[in-house]
């Protein structure tokens, strides 16, 4: 029942982005209650022997009374991290074959991730970019910052061409402390170039997750008649036949997606392909799995 609230078509009808994110995350969590693999909040994780320098606030005094040893009680929720969302707002993200645009899906995704992180008291930051960095909210766990992030996500609208090189150079300057970096983009560039541009983030100890957002029509295009396709970013026009869209194009896009996945994973990047007609839970699961791995 709650799964339907993860349907992007339904989410598109919710005007408030925070409410959207809350709906997604709450619905997602409600669907996880029987899962043994994931937890959150102040959930007990383990005991660890006290070493000098540890915060005495986390010492379990009851254990000390019984065993006369100092142990620290660890909780999952106490392991905070920094989540930085890199949101591609280039023109190509404005494409929609049916109902929801890629940028909208990416915004839901970013907002949901940010909300989930904020809910776990992680610091959340946002960088919106196309061929320049258009919005930058440094990661912080304060309530006010969370609202800034939401607003920045909300105003992310397709604006210009994509150019990974320039903004990612700036990211390397900004993302100095380790954390989780989510790159939400349609990655219309050569896989080698994308990986080469994004991989340096990984070298700084970040966990980098590439969310490759594509419209189903981009993956499996169906043309009933010859059409003149107009590139949203360059404005170039090209006449395309249905036969080409059904044959050569699919082979090329499949090859591209395979190359993206293999080269990203080879570079230690997590690659997740999401299509805009699919619910958001897959992306959330991936994110939580990676965060779990960081604990």
């Amino acid at each position: 029942m709650v799964q339907r609230f993860l349907d992007p078509q339904i989410l598109a009808g919710i005007a408030n982005l925070e409410l959207t994110a809350r709906t997604v995350v709450d619905g997602f969590i409600a669907g996880l209650h029987r899962s043994p693999d994931f937890g959150f909040s102040q959930e007990f994780a383990e005991y660890r022997q006290y070493v000098p320098g540890d915060d005495l606030r986390y010492v379990d005094w009851n254990v000390y009374a019984r065993a006369d040893r100092l142990y620290l009680k660890r909780y999952h929720g106490e392991t905070n991290t920094r989540l930085t969302v890199l949101l591609d707002r280039s023109n190509s993200m404005g494409f929609a074959s049916q109902g929801i645009r890629k940028i909208d899906y990416a915004r839901f995704l970013a907002a949901s991730m940010a909300y989930l992180a904020h809910h776990q008291r992680d610091a959340v930051g946002l960088i919106a970019f196309d061929d320049e960095v258009r919005d930058f909210i440094p990661p912080s766990s304060r309530q006010g910052n969370w609202m800034k992030v939401l607003h920045a996500i909300d105003r992310a609208e397709p604006g210009n061409r994509t150019d990974f090189a320039k903004p990612f150079l700036q990211f390397q300057e900004v993302l100095r402390s380790r954390g989780i970096v989510l790159v939400v983009s349609d990655f219309y560039a050569e896989p080698a170039y994308v990986v080469k541009t994004v991989a340096p983030l990984r070298f700084r100890g970040n966990d980098v997750i590439l969310f490759h957002v594509l419209d189903p029509m981009e993956v499996r295009p169906v043309l009933n008649e010859p059409k003149i396709l107009i590139d949203l970013e360059t404005g170039h026009e090209l006449e395309v036949s249905p036969e080409y869209a059904a044959g050569p194009y699919r082979r090329r896009i499949d090859s591209h997606l395979a190359a993206m996945k293999s080269q990203a994973e080879a570079a230690g990047l997590t690659y997740i392909l999401v299509e805009t007609d699919k619910p958001l839970d897959k992306a959330l699961r991936e994110y939580l799995a990676i965060r779990q791995g960081r604990l």
Partner: protein
């Protein structure tokens, strides 16, 4: 199979047009925005192919339509085996039988020439014989029997009709359309210049028709004729009668001619007149024309013989009779109209009419016309008597007055009177004539009707009758009504001199004379007409039987024709007698057309041009027809039309589908 106009096949290049249009049409692609063209390449060829298949039927239909039309224009034909009788086509022998062919031995020479042509025909060749004057007559079917053809040629005699080459060409064109085989026309004629149509184009013949002219010229061209005679058709006073004749010469030197006037075969007068070279001279016979009562067969004739004797006499019929009896019938004050009418007739046509005043209801049998001045309501017997008089060909003038208006209807003709209109003299309130039918014999050349003032008039519902004059308020003033063979003229105002001032106006004289002439047919009788003129026998099919006697005394009409025929063509020279119901008789003299008198032949250049144009038509069709070919272009055109219809249907289906 072959093609007569292969140049049109170059238009097959136009077949590329629908192909190109289809490709262009199919090439139309709808634009659509896409995120990135990174993985796309231009690919249109396959698209065109795929879409083209959807419209392949439409394309094929359009290609077929164009190709069929082009092939139709290139005039394809198929050869077929000719029957032996068709090998030489059809020969048509056209022999002139007009009056001019009666001069010297022209017709005999023409017949001999035609027989010679028949003899020269190859075995199996077919021919037809036709004679022509003002009309053409096919004397045989297409036949290869030379004896039968000759038998049809020999009996041809000269007729009094004139020759018309234009009508002959029209007949040949009609004949040419009946079959596709080549035709050769042998024309035997003296080719008079006067036989030429006004426009040379009327002489054109069909393609595939070859003309061979056999000119039958006479040795003597000089010809005198009595061109016209002006004599009274109705002779009232023999002592003052006068006959004028015009003697004309064609190709003649100046010479004196003796002209005689005969009546019923008896010579009455003779004169000698000097006729200038190729000119005309007038002869006047004054001082009496003594013929007995009744119709007289008269003629003005030249005593000397010349090239064409048939036109040396001019026939005309004269009717010696007393003045026509006009009956005037009126009641009360309306009798005053009698004096006006009597005075008017006496001043304009002395001795032509004799007017008698009789009370209403008396016998009208012998009257030429009847005038009813405000008759009122007639007794049924009187009305029936009058009606039978009109049906038998009589004429009645009815002046409507107060008594008739009180009866509510006009007797005999039965037209309803809807009311009357009065105007006072003092205030100058009157009505005048606003509209007259100048083509009607009663009003033809009518004077100043508009100056006549009508103070009292009656509104008559004309029904089916013909209104020939109207007053200023558009109400009918003069109405013509027909009843059987007779006619009635209704005047919507009295003739008493008080209801209007018509009797006091000069136009009254003309009106009375013309109307009485028309009603009594005195003005319509003619003394002579030309051959082949149509003579009107009756106005309506319901009229009584009319008997027509030819100059030889034979009945010209069968019993059925005598009861129904509206007119008859007077095709013989001489005196025709027409007997109508009620003992009325007419005599008409029929003369040959004087255009036959000019024996001058048409210019040789015109003859050559005519043969040449017919020859070129034949040449253009020679390949097609002499080889026994059958043209296919009508079939191609029919298939093209069918393709066009199917194309429209298929295209509309596609349009509906696209619209949906």
């Amino acid at each position: 199979m072959g093609i007569l106009a292969p140049i049109f096949l170059t238009a097959l290049g136009l077949l590329a047009l629908p192909l190109w249009l289809h490709l262009l049409k199919r090439h139309r692609s709808t634009p659509q925005k896409f995120s990135s063209l990174m993985f796309f390449e231009r690919s249109t060829a396959a698209s065109v192919k795929q879409r083209h298949l959807d419209y392949i039927l439409l394309l094929l239909l359009r290609l077929a339509l164009l190709a069929l039309a082009i092939f139709a224009f290139s005039r394809p034909f198929v050869s077929r085996a000719l029957l032996p009788s068709e090998m030489n086509g059809l020969t048509i022998l056209a022999i002139d039988e007009s009056a001019s062919m009666g001069s010297e031995d022209k017709l005999a020479r023409a017949q001999n020439e035609a027989v010679r042509v028949v003899d020269s025909l190859p075995a199996g060749a077919r021919a037809r014989v036709m004679s022509f004057g003002s009309t053409s007559h096919l004397l045989t079917e297409a036949s290869g029997d030379k004896d039968a053809l000759k038998a049809a040629i020999r009996p041809i005699k000269p007729t009094p009709s004139r020759s018309s080459l234009g009508d002959l060409a029209a007949s040949l064109r009609n004949l040419g359309r009946s079959t596709n085989e080549p035709k050769t026309v042998h024309l035997f004629s003296d080719l008079q210049r006067s036989s030429m149509p006004p426009a040379f184009n009327e002489l054109r013949l069909n393609a595939g028709m070859r003309l061979v002219v056999h000119s039958i010229e006479g040795k003597e061209k000089a010809n005198w004729t009595i061109e016209s005679v002006n004599a009274p058709a109705r002779l009232l006073d023999p002592s003052t009668s006068r006959v004028e004749a015009v003697v004309a010469g064609y190709g003649t030197p100046a010479a004196s001619r003796t002209v005689v006037l005969r009546a019923n075969g008896r010579q009455i007068a003779q004169q000698t007149v000097q006729v200038p070279a190729s000119g005309k001279a007038r002869v006047v016979f004054d001082g009496g024309f003594g013929v007995p009562y009744g119709f007289a067969e008269c003629e003005v004739a030249l005593t000397e013989s010349d090239a064409l004797d048939a036109d040396n006499k001019f026939l005309f019929a004269v009717n010696r009779a007393d003045p026509e009896r006009i009956i005037f019938s009126g009641n009360g004050s309306a009798n005053s109209g009698y004096l006006y009418i009597q005075t008017a007739l006496a001043s304009v046509s002395q001795n032509l009419f004799r007017i008698e005043q009789t009370p209403a209801g008396s016998s009208f049998g012998s009257a030429a016309a009847v005038i009813l001045s405000d008759p009122g309501a007639l007794s049924p017997a009187a009305e029936e008597s009058l009606r039978s008089y009109i049906r038998g060909g009589g004429g009645v003038l009815i002046a409507v007055g107060p008594a008739t208006a009180a009866a509510g209807r006009i007797p005999v003709v039965g037209l309803a009177i809807k009311g009357s209109r009065y105007a006072e003299r003092g205030s100058e309130r009157f009505e005048s004539v606003s509209e007259t039918d100048q083509t009607h014999p009663v009003l033809e050349g009518a004077g100043r009707w508009e100056s006549v003032r009508f103070y009292q008039s009656f509104r008559i519902d004309p029904g089916q009758a013909k209104v020939i004059a109207r007053l200023s308020d558009s109400s009918p003033l003069l109405i013509e009504a027909r009843l059987g063979e007779g006619k009635a003229l209704i005047l919507a105002s009295p003739l008493d001199g008080r209801a209007n001032d018509l009797p006091l106006q000069p136009v009254f004289l003309q009106f009375m004379e013309k109307s009485l002439r028309w009603l009594s047919d005195a003005g319509e009788r003619v003394g002579s007409v030309t051959v082949d003129a149509n003579y009107e026998l009756r106005q309506s099919a319901a009229a009584a039987t009319v008997e027509v006697l030819t100059p030889g005394g034979q009945r010209a009409l069968s019993v059925a024709e005598a009861a129904k025929a509206r007119s008859i063509s007077l095709d013989q020279q001489g005196f025709w007698t027409i007997r109508r119901a009620g003992g009325r008789a007419e005599m008409v003299a029929v003369n040959i057309d004087r255009r036959e008198s000019d024996l001058e032949a048409m210019p040789a250049e015109s003859t050559e041009l005519w043969q040449g144009s017919a020859g070129s038509n034949a040449a253009s069709a020679q390949v097609e027809q002499s080889a026994g070919t059958r043209p296919l272009w009508p079939w191609f055109l029919a298939f093209a039309l069918a393709a066009a219809l199917v194309e429209v249907w298929v295209a509309s289906k596609h349009l509906r589908r696209e619209a949906a």
